[in-house]
């Protein structure tokens, strides 16, 4: 079942070693501003007909104004993907962990769409087939436009999971460190008092 997709070009891939790496698009959920440039770039360049429409995008941003939330949702390329339920063998995972759909094999049964816990698979009624993120041959357009438009925020990043873990860990460390420092100050003032 796990086969290496032919369309994946080594030259476009920032990680060329060929090892299994668990590629995915890292998301800084608290930084996204909800501009939808990722959705519109993806749909325009990947839908095949140059159509700008979030409904045809493989990445979606959900916004909730009262809470000030903007949450990008996209395939996380699970290590053990629930979407592999495909009865037509259209879903595959290459040796790097990229989960992809073979359009020629897809029968449009939508089983994968139902199985995905993140809603990352969509159905294109015109083609009668499902579609999802395939990391654009190793150079995701959503990541590219996001970093051109909002370079300071680093909302979408395409990198090794361990690098992403590290940046999250660093941020959490800063938060914890602040509270520890704060409690030290409070303690000191109590002792003095």
């Amino acid at each position: 079942m796990k086969q290496r997709a032919k369309s994946f070009k080594d030259a476009d891939d920032p990680y060329r070693s060929g090892e299994r790496m668990g590629h995915f698009i890292g998301i800084a959920y608290d930084k996204c501003c909800g501009c939808k440039l990722c959705e519109l770039s993806c749909s325009m360049l990947r839908s095949g007909k140059g159509i700008s429409s979030p409904a045809l995008s493989r990445i979606r941003v959900l916004r909730r104004e009262p809470q000030g939330l903007d949450i990008p949702m996209v395939c996380l390329h699970c290590e053990d993907p629930p979407c592999m339920v495909c009865p037509a063998d259209a879903m595959s995972q290459d040796q790097r962990g990229v989960v992809m759909i073979n359009d020629d094999k897809c029968i449009g049964c939508k089983q994968c769409l139902l199985a995905c816990p993140f809603g990352a698979i969509s159905f294109n009624p015109e083609k009668g087939k499902v579609f999802k993120c395939d990391l654009c041959n190793g150079a995701p357009l959503c990541v590219r436009i996001c970093n051109v438009a909002h370079p300071a925020d680093k909302v979408l990043t395409y990198q090794k999971p361990e690098m992403f873990e590290k940046s999250i860990r660093t941020r959490a460390f800063e938060r914890i460190a602040n509270s520890v420092m704060q409690s030290r100050v409070e303690l000191a003032s109590k002792v003095k008092g």
Binding site: C33, L40, P66, V148
Partner: protein
Amino acid sequence: MELYGWAGKILRVDLSKETFKTQPLPTDMMTSLIGGRGFNSKILYDEVAPGTDPLGPDNKLIFGTGPVTGTIVSTSGRFTVTAKSPTTDAFGDANAGGHWGGELKWAGYDVIVFEGAAKKPVFLWIDDDQIELRNAEHIWGLDYFKTTEEVQKDVGDMDISVAGIGPAGERLVYTSCVMNEYTRAAAKCGMGAVMGSKRLKAIAVRGTKGVKVAKPGELFKIVEEYIEILKREDRWFYENFSKYGTPMFVDQYQQLGALPTRNWRETCYEEAEKVGVGPFYKKYVKKKRACQSCPYHCSPYFTIDEGRFAGTWDDGTEYEATGGFSSKVGCGDLEVALVGGAWCDKFGLDYINCADTIAWAFECYNEGILTKEDTDGLDLKWGNADAVLECIRRMAYKEGKFGELLALGSRKAGRKVGKGAEYYSITIKGQQMGMMDPRVFHAWGFAYGVSTRGGDHLRSHAVCEYMFTPEEMEKYVGSRKAADRFGFEGKGKLIFWTENIRALNDSIENCKYFFRGSPRLWTEYPHKVLSAVTGLDWTYEMTFAAGQRINLIERAYNAREGLGRKDDYLPERFYKELVPTGPTKGASFPREQYDKILDEYYEMRGVDKKTGYPKKEKLLELGLADIAADLEKRRKLG
């Protein structure tokens, strides 16, 4: 021929008969007027006759998007709302960001025209081709935030876009606006009141069809390239504006001695530091949010977590709120200004028109023209924070005699009160102005005067006068002295040139801030993205001509309503009073100088110097023969 960019459809909704009709978008309109503001202005000119009651069923409410709306073209989530304005009793439109414009485009419409008036409150639900008028009696009376929630529940989808009005629009308050995405306002000209008069509470849209782009690869490259140009050529602005948004202008204009204080008496506010961007960001702002396809994200999402306003939130708070509800009424309480802004969004009021009208009432009270009896017991001493908030609420709900008065906006309220109150209503054609003092920014002051929708800071790019170097000014306007903000030379040409550019921005539906940074952006970007999106060959000259056409159509509309040269002047205060304090003390804008600039401007605009009406030659030159014939019939040709 396959159509790219434009959806090619006008949706007509007859609210009286509850019927819908779609008609194809005329091809000649696409190339001559581009979209958004251009389409709307022409439709209004053709279909709403002079003398129409702005709040009657014969007025039309038009929502328009541009050819690039809903694509990756930077800041392309915008739309224009147009109708005859109850504020100015003449041409009126308002432009908003957010996501609603894109959503309408994805549903497959360029323009919606609302005609007639519903018998009972309704909201319109557009789900691609499925269009439905639904009962809105259960949401009539709710504030706009609740309205959005209820409409989303009614439809059963939390991701749809909802444009609508709050209690202010329902009650036909002249300072009301049309809101979308909770906090984005199409604010000017009382468009909310027009929507309220039609008993249309909201327009909910879900679009899944999308916008067809002719040259996707090329468009992606252009968009990337020009975002880089923006970052490179105006780095300081890009970084700061992304970080702070417009609230940073409080500090900037204070420094430049241009911050309107106590209803435009002064230009320098002693407590500006308290309401500046520093305290705002330190304590309240939680994150930055953006309209569709924006490379900036200027919109601060804030919450107030403690104290008597705990639980208040707002998004997209602007300079016009943090300054309008502070310096303009002499009240240095940031929290009150923030709550004022949040209430405006909730009630569906325009920051500028609302704050200005309140400042007018404060000054009249302090000058003894209004008494406590007139204000229903409110004490409007400069700086009374609680009174500011109370005024906003009473204006929105038309509560009591004083609420009714405020709801008229400062010009009409001034006329009603008399006793010299008109002198303190700082309006042009009945419209309040953006918060930059005309005496210290002459091009800006002049732009307020000649704007087709009344006092307005967005109709031209006057900011050039202190942003450009003299060399740049010489290159673009032909006068080095135009770069002096206290000077008088070259201002007419600057405003003529940038008014056309702005009409173009409003017609392809882009945000003005994207173009602020560099003249390269506004002379190259529009026609390049138009070519990539629509597949037609656009040139700078074509887009510039469209800008002229749109301005002249609007001027013709106003001429038909009887507005002319006499209405293109600033409020008396700015000719009579010198700036009394601060770094710009003594600055003035003499009327003779203003007259000279006006003559220079009329010459270029193709408008008669005596009457201010458009000239036949210019109309014919721009291909507006039908308008020339109409004006000739009505004897309104210049």
